[in-house]
Symmetry: C3
Subunit: 328 residues, 3 copies
């Protein structure tokens, strides 16, 4: 899709330095761009590529604009503006409205006529699928699943009984939402499975990564707050409550009944024990192991995790001791 820079400047509130009639058709990196590309500069790491770019236009901030060798779309937050423009240039393919002939849909399911249900989906009893929602090929929606409007299930996603998904939420292939939580009672040297009778409620504007698993609650529900972003291969245990706009990077694991506030960030492969309270704004470094509650706003690192400054001191002292080990 070709769009003029003038239109983009108006629509996304940018200042345009250059030709308002110039057209861009796709996005590209500064290094990989051609005359039909829109590129952006947000990470100073890539500033050296600006002078050489062959992009048709670059989205950047005022401070960098004077170094831009081509048309410039200037704004305070180039990354966000780029994201919005890229969504216009590369719209997600949503498939035609309607139910594919090979999908198996229970009579009691209610599918909005503007929704798409793809090939070989299995849709259970009393499922509700909202307006403009996309259900890709090979999805399984068990009984009583509810999808709000504009949900996007890419392909081959399993939503177990009664799972609820909020508006505009995107789920990547292979995710399993609502599998049984891991709950067992011990009796005479064996394990008895505890039925998991809660479900999972996912808020609006959430992203859930490929092959990620979110367990249903044991009695209460597991809850994913609005706007939270969850990467691939993440494991979320039963009864976990995630606040708004949290970010969980790849392979993070959160054990049962732990609660996260809003805007919590967990780096890749971070792990949280069960029954913890993690305050809003907490940042947990990659690979950290969290064994205790963390107050709001703290940044922690290590396993067992400690505040970042303490972690750096521990690392430094250990390195120093190792170097002079023979003298101890």
């Amino acid at each position: 899709m070709a769009v003029s820079l003038g239109e983009l400047a108006v629509r996304f509130g940018c200042e345009l330095r250059g030709d308002p009639d110039a057209l861009v058709e796709h996005v590209a990196t500064l290094a990989g761009a051609d005359a039909h590309s829109l590129s952006f500069l947000a990470n100073p790491r890539y500033k050296s590529q600006l002078a050489q770019t062959r992009a048709g236009a670059v989205v950047l901030d005022k401070a960098s604009a004077s170094d831009c060798p081509t048309n410039a779309l200037i704004c305070a937050n180039p990354h966000a503006a780029y994201a919005r423009i890229a969504t216009v240039l590369h719209p997600r393919s949503h498939g035609p409205a309607g139910i594919h002939a090979t999908a198996i849909v229970a009579d009691s399911a209610r599918v909005d006529p503007t929704a798409h249900v793809g090939p070989l989906c299995v849709i259970g009893e009393r499922v509700v699928i909202g307006p403009r929602t996309f259900v890709g090929p090979h999805c399984v929606l068990e009984d009583e699943v509810a999808l709000d409007e504009d949900v996007y299930l890419a392909a081959r996603i399993t939503l177990c009984r009664s799972v609820q998904i909020g508006a505009r939420t995107v789920v990547q292939p292979g995710a399993v939402i609502g599998g049984d939580g891991f709950g067992f009672a011990s009796e005479q040297r064996r394990w008895i499975k505890v039925p998991q009778v809660g479900t999972v409620r996912v808020g609006p504007d959430v992203e859930i990564g490929a092959n990620t698993t979110i367990d249903r609650g044991s009695g209460p529900d597991t809850v994913i707050g609005p706007g939270s972003m969850i990467d691939n291969l993440v494991q979320i245990g039963h009864n976990v409550i995630l606040g708004r706009c949290c970010i969980l990077a790849g392979q993070v694991g959160i054990s049962g009944s732990t609660r996260l506030g809003d805007f919590v960030m967990v780096g890749g492969q971070g792990g949280l024990a069960g029954h913890l309270n993690i305050g809003s704004g907490v940042r947990i470094a990659a690979k950290s192991g969290i064994m205790r509650d963390i107050p709001a706003g703290e940044t922690v690192c290590g396993s067992p995790a400690v505040p970042l400054t303490e972690f750096m001191r521990q690392t430094a002292v250990l390195q120093r001791l190792a170097r002079k080990k023979d003298k101890l």
Copy 2:
């Protein structure tokens, strides 16, 4: 389903303090219960909620019974009794006996007439499916897979060639059992794949989590012992042997040819190197990295893992040194 407290007391060997004709219909937490709910108290963390509960009945032990404001079902192991009662109140839905019209079943497969094979399953040659076994939608069973009686494959599970699953075992969605083990020979600076000719034998009463992967043996089989509980996103390498009633929490990884005894517990994100022997009753803390054999009964922590007491000493000394770092 509504059941009287009198019937539950008799069936599960509890002492009843209260009205034997009172009915309960579902389970709930102490805090979330209503008059039709059965709740339980096993974790002292939740004792403070007992006085305020509005549950119709609570399962608890003798010591807590006097504080119970409603009908009490008293027994020595409230968690186990609750698990059994919850299974009665919330029976798993098993689908009708028979093979769905859209399933693709090889002529040589033998499916017990009481078994359920769901929509869009693909069942290979010489597969055997036992009495009352449930095969949910979108499962793929390659040639010669054998499922014993009362097995439950939730949905979208892949069992590769010749995999065997014991009675009453439950598998959550997305699990892959019997994929090729990770075996390569090095030759002239490239890798040659070694065919993986063993299979996977899963015992009875096992639970396997969502998107978990268990590789087939390279020559011998990979073996999962009876009653073992495996959480989501766990990786089990080729030739691994798990004993009875082990517990592997989420995202644990076990490398090839390692053997675990009985009742071994591995915390979340724990990792075990290959070719190790882990004795019965060993407990491995979350995130630990195991590089050597562990004798029976030991509790270990850290990476490389050491006995728990030593880990705590190491942590303490490092914290102390970091605090007085400038004085070193």
Copy 3:
């Protein structure tokens, strides 16, 4: 399939000590072999089993040959020779050429007549499937996916839009290749998804494990080099570039835009931060956390990772200090 030792010796360049007309039918471990088995000895750990083996023949090196109680196939690299012979004795089942009646194939897709497309696959517009390529049951290939010749997709694999797979590459069940990368712009305390417009290009002779996820590039492509071996449940972020013949063990995670050279090895559960350069021949120990560039040839361990010798010194000094803690 039965093959004579004489034929194997000629075909794979081994010296035969024993009966050239003896037949072997399958492979087995030294301990589990019978008279129709071919076994091998490459790992000195198993040398003690050689004297007792009942194998029909053993592949081993010259140094061990004199201890072999049965027919010996002698060569410099017994593991590689065994891998090749095992492939002959246990050929992969490839299914008949042609498209299964239940597969859903877009009119514009080009499927080579020698390829196999299994039951219930969904093949999108303009997909290309090369000669002798096997697409197992329940695979989803979105629009414009391209598979070269002799590719093997075991079952239930998702290849998102435009993903390219090189010749002879093998993908295990449940893998997701080309899901959206994890890219978000921050704006006024919420996250805006950045469209991921690159794809994934997988080289020839690659292995990709079960339930592994490889994200599509954000703008550039994610690239997996020829001959690289990737185990189960591995996460590879957007724009990552993997060189030739790398090995990633189970549950490894590589964050976005990191580049690995050739022959890099990462142990199980290792994690790499984003935007790093890892030189050729680097070895990263299991569970390590990589936060900085690593020069070619180095071996690193720990989190944050340090050179192996330094890690061992750190571990030793910490153990020593913990033992004499009270004296500090």
